[in-house]
């Protein structure tokens, strides 16, 4: 319990709404990267773009609200991958 109370912050969907700035990584075929990276294509996306229209957390109702006041209730919990011109989706439970 003591070392597992909070997950690693990047092993959550936090980065979907709050960008963590970092320069573009090494190419996927760089030999210094683990084998898995040979199968993960990724194009750096601007962190501000990633935050567009993601809504906000309402501390009173304790749920996330999208712009316009609607709830995200029942929203697809999928993670968008790739760049905006070639979007792809992964069901978000791929995280765990």
């Amino acid at each position: 319990m003591t070392t597992t109370l909070a997950r690693h912050p990047l092993r959550t969907s936090l980065s979907m709404t709050f960008g963590h700035e970092e320069a573009a990584p090494l190419p996927a075929d760089d030999p210094s990267r683990p084998f898995a990276y040979a199968f993960a294509t990724w194009t750096c996306e601007d962190a501000e773009e990633a935050q567009d229209d993601t809504g906000h957390y309402n501390e009173e109702t304790q749920v996330w609200e999208i712009p316009g006041g609607g709830y995200t209730m029942g929203v697809y919990t999928k993670t968008r991958t790739g760049c905006s011109c070639h979007p792809d989706y992964v069901t978000d439970d791929a995280c765990f």
Partner: protein, 338 residues
């Protein structure tokens, strides 16, 4: 475990952005439950946690005017809390000390509760270990894919040379590679062949998992919420995008409801009991011969996409479990169709 009641308090530990939690919050409110949702990043700047036996026993969590008596908890849902936030002014060494103190203090106070946890984080941390899951599943008599786990490129090369059927590469820790600053990148289970020889040396960088590719009739995502099973058929072979890894499509090709065989239900209950989990999302392949092959169990797997697509009452089921109070006990299984 008793029937749901609204006498206790439900504590949800997760980050602000967690759409899987929102419908459960709505369900809990509809059932008149007292629900408090907090992220551990609120501690210590926006949240107080206190336990004392001076002048009587009391355990208390205070956040935004919500004063939670931790002795009244009926259930805790450990979803996706993020790390404690000690603010920008504290030095790194001090933060490390403060974090360890908080882990010990808050972890210990919450561990001392006797309510239902979905799931206890210490149990989650062990249960999500895929080699461990596969070992238990095999011991319980489930079929699992033949698996090579190694960081030795020669082992992989030898497997590919002698394999008489396709081999897949699969990550241990899930299908997402995180690139800080942007969306995570998807990493699907991938069929590999000799074309990977040029990358084989990269196997040595860390542990890699290779499995035999098993021919599929269809796949099953089984969501276990307490003693309620939600088996969902995914006709993954109907599209190229989902044939190897059904996470590859945004809209899944669902199949008609097929209840799990009783023998598999019993083995799954034994697996859940051995992993000491209340909740898990399990993946199975069903072969053309009708045999179920266990792939993995996700102790914190999402379920809201099926709630949305198939109108399965998963949010209510989670809410009822959190409201029931007392420690969870495995018992007779109810399978829910759609």
């Amino acid at each position: 475990m008793g029937e749901p009641s609204n006498d206790g308090v439900v504590l949800i530990l997760t980050q602000d952005f967690d759409p899987t939690v929102d419908p459960v919050v709505h369900s809990l409110k509809a059932k008149d439950a007292e629900v408090v949702r907090v992220d551990l990043s609120y501690f210590p700047q926006k949240m107080y946690v206190t336990a004392s036996d001076f002048d009587g026993e009391r355990r208390r969590l205070l956040h935004r005017g919500r004063d939670v008596d931790l002795s009244r908890l009926s259930g805790v849902w450990y979803r996706r809390p993020t790390a404690f936030d000690f603010g920008p002014d504290m030095g790194e060494a001090e933060k490390q000390f403060a974090r360890n103190e908080a882990l010990q203090g808050i972890g210990g106070i919450l561990r001392a509760t006797t309510c239902t946890w979905i799931n206890r984080p210490d149990l989650d941390a062990v249960a999500e270990l895929k080699p461990y899951q596969l070992d238990i599943a095999k011991r319980l008599g489930m079929r699992t894919p033949k698996t090579l786990m190694t960081n030795d490129p020669e082992e992989v090369s030898a497997l590919l040379a002698r394999a008489d059927r396709p081999v897949v590469y699969k990550a241990f820790s899930g299908g997402v590679i995180h690139y800080p600053g942007s969306f995570p990148s998807g990493l699907f289970t991938t069929v590999v062949g000799e074309e990977i020889n040029e990358h084989l040396d990269r196997v040595r960088h860390t542990m890699c998992m290779f499995q035999e590719y098993i021919e599929k009739a269809y796949e099953v995502r089984l969501t276990v919420i307490g003693n309620t099973f939600f088996p969902v058929v995914i006709r993954s072979q109907e599209t190229d995008a989902t044939s190897v890894d059904w996470r590859g499509a945004n809209h899944l090709p669902y199949g008609d409801y097929v209840p799990l065989p009783e023998d598999l239900v019993k083995k799954t209950q034994l697996l859940m009991a051995e992993l000491d989990l209340v909740y898990a999302a399990l993946d199975f392949i069903v072969t053309p011969d009708g045999e179920y092959v266990f792939l993995e169990a996700n102790p914190n797997g999402q379920f809201m996409w099926m709630y949305h697509d198939l109108k399965l009452p998963m949010a209510d089921c989670i809410a009822d479990l959190l409201m029931a109070g007392g420690e969870f006990r495995r018992g007779e299984v109810t399978q829910i169709g759609y």
